[in-house]
């Protein structure tokens, strides 16, 4: 079994000291090591943002996509490389802002992907602008009077659009996050793990301490993760506000919802049965199709 550190290379992480990305980095490596995945058996995809800079530090086969565009290439890769696992990392601005359309459609499709969202409720890489998951009325450099919109609810959207595995993690609880990752990575279908990832540089509100006072684990309650409607309800109540006090504002982490046995997009696509490069070993005989024109 590869050790966790087998998935790092010699490039030094460029994340700020104390950033939530470090914990997520570690948790994913541990999960991969635990599952015993060889480097050649999977590929990782990243969007653009601080999270995406991980593309430089992981020692894996990877694709550092455009801003907001990690899901389309990852989906097509999964459909044409059925011999590979696919892990996608995206930022909240990246995946729920520019890439929100792709996110909605990816949830509908049930392509076999594990999607990890680095949800720091701010734009890190571009120095602290509001993100689609920033709290209502949160002031930022691009919204000095406070964000006027309601935040995007990624868990609710994923539930509404039929995603088959939906979880939320916290970068401050690496052991718990590792277990969520393992479940997501072994889920047969589209799996979302939205992770509270404190940005210690730009988001001075949603800090590690702020989350520690508010998160609780679903598996430690009597949560039934097979009820999509209840999970949707929970996704609405779990919205937090800037002002909410720790005792009135509880934020669930863990598996909101899982559904097994639904066919994946690839399973319903006959052409997806074989790696696509094998289709180009010889010219395809098109004379039959031509004769019918």
């Amino acid at each position: 079994m590869p050790e966790a550190k087998a998935f790092t290379n010699t490039n030094k992480p460029t994340w700020c000291p104390g950033c939530g990305n470090h914990g997520m980095f570690l948790a994913l490596q541990r999960a991969l090591a635990e599952l015993g995945w060889e480097k050649r058996e999977f590929a990782m995809f990243w969007g653009i943002g601080c999270h995406g800079n991980g593309a430089d530090f992981y020692d894996v086969q990877g694709f550092h996509a455009l801003h907001g565009r990690s899901l389309p290439p990852a989906s097509a890769y999964a459909l044409t490389r059925p011999d590979q696992h696919v892990v996608v990392e995206m930022g909240d601005g990246d995946g729920y802002g520019l890439g929100l359309g792709h996110f909605v459609h990816a949830c509908r499709r049930n392509v076999a992907l594990t999607v990890i969202a680095h949800n720091n409720q701010i734009y890190g890489l571009t120095t602290g602008q509001a993100s689609p998951t920033s709290d209502h009325l949160m002031p930022t450099v691009s919204t000095p009077q406070g964000v006027l919109e309601e935040p995007v609810n990624p868990i609710g959207i994923a539930l509404a659009e039929g995603a088959t595995f939906i979880a939320r993690g916290f970068a401050g609880d690496i052991a718990h996050l590792t277990s969520l990752y393992i479940e997501a990575l072994t889920h047969d279908g589209f799996a979302l793990v939205d992770v509270f990832q404190p940005c210690v540089t730009w988001n001075k509100i949603n800090t590690f301490a702020w989350f520690r006072e508010r998160v609780y684990k679903l598996e430690e309650s009597d949560w039934d993760a097979t009820d999509r409607v209840k999970a949707f309800d929970l996704s609405l109540t779990a919205f937090h506000e800037l002002t909410c006090a720790p005792d009135t504002c509880k934020m669930p982490i863990g598996v909101y919802f899982r559904e097994t046995g639904k066919p994946t997009y690839g399973q319903s696509t006959p052409a997806s049965a074989e790696p696509g490069w094998r289709r180009a070993l010889h010219p395809r005989d098109v004379s039959g199709i031509m004769a019918k024109l």
């Binding site: 694709f63 389309p72 290439p73 289709r279 010219p283």
Partner: protein, 614 residues
Amino acid sequence: MSQTAPYGREVRIRIGGPAGFGIKAAGQSLARVFAQAGYRTFDLTEYPSLIKGGHNTYHLRVSADPITSHVMATDILVALDRPTARLHIRELTPGGALIYDPKDFEPDADADLGGRDDVCLVPVPLTRIVDDAGGIKIMRNVAALGATLGHMGMALDGLESSIRAQFAHKAPEIAAQNIAIAQAGLEHAQGAPCAFPFALPAAEQAGDLVLADGNEAFGLGALAAGVGFYAAYPMTPASSLLHFMAKHGDAAGVVVKHTEDEIAAMNMVLGSAFGGTRSMCATAGGGFSLMVEAFGFAGVSETACVVGLFTRPGPATGLPTWTEQSDLRFALHASQGEFPRVVLAPGDHAEAFEYTWRAFNLADELQTPVILLGDSYLSDNRATSERFDVEAVEIRRGKLVAEGDVQDHPDALAGDGRYARYKVTEDGVSVRALPGVEGAIQVVNSYEHDEFGYGAQAEEASIRVAQNEKRLRKLDLAASMVPPPNRFGPDDAEISLVFFGSTKMPALQALQWLHAEGHAVNAIQVTTLWPFPAIEVCRFLCDAKINLIIEGNATGQLEGLIREQCLHAVHHRLRRYDGRPFSPELIYATVKQLLGEPVELNAAGALVAKEDFN
């Protein structure tokens, strides 16, 4: 029989009526009937961007001789409504026929016939025929097809088998009913009051012809090349290629995805290409606008992929169902930054097939994106071509390692033995080992990157320069691999034409007429727009006495490119940007004018009769 010079042994049929009357479908069945009988056909479908309402027409040229394009003249006008007669009567050649249903209208001498008394009126009770057979209104087009064949003195055989094939999946009565309707239409027109002066000579066995539109040709080329992934978002005129790929995808082993938008389509192409799959998307200019960022990603990440850019008049949503060649500069310059790309512009259906499979080879061997530049005129219209040369198709994947261990490829390894996906090489192309190959750890990056694909390191100036220069070196290699320009006509000519893309079709037709009259006119078709074949074009222009650049845009994009790349003067220009394709008549008349022998075109753009039929 004699026809207006220089037209050949041919008949031109136009069917017109409101949208939703099955006009294109009817016309295409007719084309199939003639093609199967060994005639050459070329059709032009004109329709506004509406599903119901609006005026649709289908123009079919049928010839006993090889032809390369549509023409503007019409010998039989099938008017499924009165506006068709009013709009198109002026196109009818003298002696031509107007087929109409007296129940729709009785032609008024001035309003409908434009005062013409040299056309033959062929009333056919289309509605009554359909009613008598217990059919429904849309079947009037079948009655009209029968009438057309009857008026031309042709038998029904071909149409019968075509109808049978078309309704094969339905109850046998449906085909029988349609055949009866066609037969009744035919009998009616056989008793027409005037003889048809343009009887087609018997078709010589024309050999093995394929009747396809441009998008079918593009699709066949992609399938032949082993495409494994095709993604698109519908946009005219590329939509029918998506339909073609979707229809054949499962059986052929192609994952075909109608995506949420063009951004997803192009980004999906990048992802599947990363996995080694031959990948393609196609769209019109509006969709390509959305793809541009990802197109640049293909450039910086050296991703082999093929993008069909089938243009229509723009900008923005433009004229969706019409044609133009105004995205040439867009194809050449799309994306920020600089990187090598190849832009191929097939000129006809056979080239659409051939350049598509070649595009995949070029993309793989150069590891860079290739644009297939087309337009509505090529995509939408059907022509008979010699069967596409499927035997010639080769698959060349370049420096690709799909299986095994990357350590077996020393030229792929950096000094420390690691796989270097972007190793700097002399020709600019590195060894591409696919994910899954042992040891092929690599990052494909939308950022500038080092030899391993890592981004942060490449902010080092020297790395940026080395990678940028490495990529751009591929253009020299590309120049030696891309299709050279096509030359037509004698070396020594009075007038020399220059064009690209689908303009080849009418231009060759005009050239054929000019040559038949003994004029020394030659032409060069620029088939690869980038890297621009400056030497060949320059040589051609240097030998030319008078040059004429023909292109479907208002600003002279090809002309500008020639000035920039060849530093050569351009003498004359013919530009069109009203959404209509060039007609051979227009090109012929323009050249005749330059030769000092002006000819007249009628209001419909057809050549005016010089000799009368008798």
